[in-house]
Each structure stands twice: as C-alpha cells, then as structure tokens.
Amino acid sequence: MRVRDHMTRAFVAVAPHASLGEVARAMSDHGVRHLLILRGNQLVGLLTDRELDAARPSPATSLTVGEIQAALARARAEEVMIRDVVTVAPGTPLAAAARLMRDWQLTALPVLQEGAPVGLLTDATLLGVLGALLEDQAEGAASRRGAPSAGVSSRRR
C-alpha cells in the first residue's frame, strides 16, 4: 500500500502573501485543517489550524472587531507558516508515512512529485485506513469462525 493509494488529490492551497483573513476563510469554506502554501507550483510552506490559532487574538485582546479584521488582513501566511515541511512521494510506502507522522507528531504530509505538490496525506485519512484494516481483520476472523458474513458486511454499509 502506497501513499498514492490514499492521499487526497483535492488539497487547498494559497499564496505566501495571502492574508490570515483569507487563510481562515479558505479553511472554513473548504472544511480543511491544512493549507499548502505555494509560490507558483512550488511548495514553500504548510499552514495548519494550529498556526492560525496561535496567531489569532484571544478574547482578551484590547482590539476592536474591526481592528482585529484589519490586523488579520495585513498579516501574511508566510509570516506564520511552517517552512521546514516534511513531505513524501506518491510511491512512499504507507507504513513509512505513518511512522513519519508519528515520530514527528505531524498531522499532514504534502505529497510531492518532481517538486510539485500532487496530494496531501492527513492523520485522519491514516486513522481511516487503520479502521478499515481492523475491520477486514475482524471480518476475516469472523468468517474463519464460521460466523454469517452477511451480518458482518451489513454493518459496513
């Protein structure tokens, strides 16, 4: 099983000079927690909800709502993005990607082919793969015990 079998090809990207207001909107509009930061077709950074949360003002800020919006419109993605991004290739074995994510405590790995991003692999996707593998194992064990497979497969749907 390789990264290319499970990566999402529909990732969301913004330019390094995008404002944090635009970043927040892109995340909420697309329902994603990770944005690739691209200059042309080149990956220059990664921005997750963690970096966005860290930059956002707390409720205790003395700024007004308008001032906060203006400040977020002036702050740029490249000021808060992760620059040293750990990446994988489409042909990277999925087990190696899972270990990378575990060891570096990452929540997503951009997938690069010839330097250009072609996908994104997230922790949620990998947890989904684990769920499916464990389900297959449970089904295998149940069918070896002679349990009715119809009951098991109906749970899947």
Partner: protein, 275 residues
C-alpha cells in the same frame, strides 16, 4: 482488538473548577491532546488542545502587544471546555477509536471505566499500530510498473507485457519514451512568440503517439513521461521516484544495462513465438 490492549494508562481527568493554567501545563508535560472534564464525579465535558489555543494570547508580533497575557491564567477549565464529554470504554474496539478520532479531529481520547478516567488512546499510538499492521501484510503484488518504450516491436512488446502484468493487480503503468527529435531548422523558423505553444503541441502529439500503443478497453492507469534523450537514465529515475515494483523493457541490451542499476527487478518482455 480492544482499546484496553492499546491505551496508555494514567489519569486523564481534570476537575471543571481547576485553573486552566494548571490543565494546560499538564497537557504539555504529559503530551495529552484531550482531558476529560469532571464535576461531581461524572464527566461533563472535554478540554482539547484546540480549546486551550483559542484563549491563548496571539503570538503574532503585530497582535501580541494588544493582549492581556495573564487573562487566560485567571480562567477555569469549565470556562473553555466543550460541553460534550467524549470517551471510550476499555472494551471499545480500536476500529471505533480510530474512526472517532478521525471524525472529531483530535489526537487523543480518554478511556473511562466505571466513571473513572483510566487512560488514553492517542493518534500517535494508532499510527504506530497502523505501520506495524501494514508491515505484516503480505506484499500486495505489483503496484507500479515503469516501462522503457523503445521504438518498433521491442517497445510494443514491453508495453503489452507491462499491461498484462498490471491488469490483475490494477497496477499503474508509467511509459518512459524518447520524443522524436525535430529538426533544429523547424524550431528556428517558428516566431519566438509561438515557439512554446508549438513545442507544447509537439509534446502532446508525441504523448498521443505513445498512448496509441495502449489498446483501448480494460487498460490500467497509464501515464507517459517524455524525455528528449537518455531514456535509460529517465527509466531509472522514474522507477526510483515512483517506487516502482518492476521495470519492463523490450530490448535485451537495455534490460542488461538496467538490471544492475534499478532498485527493483527488470523484466525483458519476451518475443512472441515464431518471431
């Protein structure tokens, strides 16, 4: 596989009235993403790392000066927790744990037994489990084949053999071919403004010529890589980059040259009988 076999034991609960600063310090110290919030001996909510981040002062240099740095330290856990307690029982399956964490987007979940938080299951642990389960799986057969496409019958044989091998496992196939050279004069007579477009059209044409060798119908996913020369090096580079399981060529000299250098087996496509 049950949660209790894979959880890290230890108390992961916090009282609703506890200071947020203490809970935040504990989460950082113990690497916890989620704490179960208790009141009167029962779970009433959860405190996630994201909840703590939302009330933390901005770290951005233009926004930080307007923060009141010790404001968050005056808060209690109940002020920022989400009022939905989510936990796993020790006998829940790891499958359910993985799905729940993926759905909630959290990196850990508390495990509760008889009203007490007794441990935690983390995404970190589950990713380790996934890696070891994947390692134990038998090789899944061929997933990616790179083909060095020579001109003439050798190329035809290599493509046909690769497609036959790819079909049962639905493997992907990448065809590496040398684009036919164009006379220098032909390029130089094109006005500079149109040169890129004409060259792109030539590329499309060359790509189509390679793809024309792939029979329509039940063919697996086929990509084409065009190179202007040095097909052998391009095949090796593509095989390494794509993590190919097999390289297929139709010419015996090409097969011998690649055999010692590719990281995966190199197959020489056989000649049809009577050839």
């Amino acid at each position: 596989m049950q949660v209790k076999m894979w959880m890290t034991t230890g108390a992961v609960a916090v009282e609703a009235g506890a200071p947020l600063a203490a809970a935040r310090a504990r989460m950082a110290r113990e690497g916890l993403d989620t704490l179960l919030v208790m009141a009167d001996g029962r779970p009433i909510g959860r405190l996630a790392a994201a909840d703590v981040r939302r009330v933390a002062p901005s770290a951005h240099p233009r926004l930080a000066p307007y923060e009141s740095p010790d404001w968050a330290d005056r808060l209690a856990v109940r002020d920022v927790m989400s009022p939905h307690a989510v936990w796993l029982t020790p006998t829940a399956s790891l499958r359910e744990a993985a799905r729940l964490m993926a759905t909630l987007g959290v990196a850990s979940l508390p495990v509760v037994d008889a009203g007490s938080a007794i441990g935690t299951v983390s995404a970190r642990d589950l990713l380790g489990l996934l890696a070891s389960l994947l390692d134990q799986r038998p090789p899944a057969g061929i997933e990616h084949i790179v083909v060095g496409v020579e001109r003439g019958p050798a190329g035809e044989r290599a493509v046909a053999t690769a497609l036959d091998l790819a079909r049962p496992d639905a493997a992907s196939v990448t065809l590496v071919a040398v684009a036919a050279p164009r006379p220098r004069l032909a390029i130089e007579t094109i006005p500079a403004v149109a040169r890129a477009a004409v060259q792109a059209a030539w590329c499309d044409e060359a790509r189509a010529a390679v793809l024309a060798r792939v029979p329509a119908g039940d063919a697996p996913r086929v990509d084409v890589e065009l190179v202007s020369g040095g097909r052998r090096e391009a095949v090796l580079a593509a095989a390494a980059r794509l993590g190919a399981d097999l390289v297929v060529v139709g010419d015996p000299r090409e097969a011998r040259a690649l055999a010692g250098r590719a990281a995966c087996p190199v197959l020489l496509a056989g000649r049809p009988e009577g050839d």
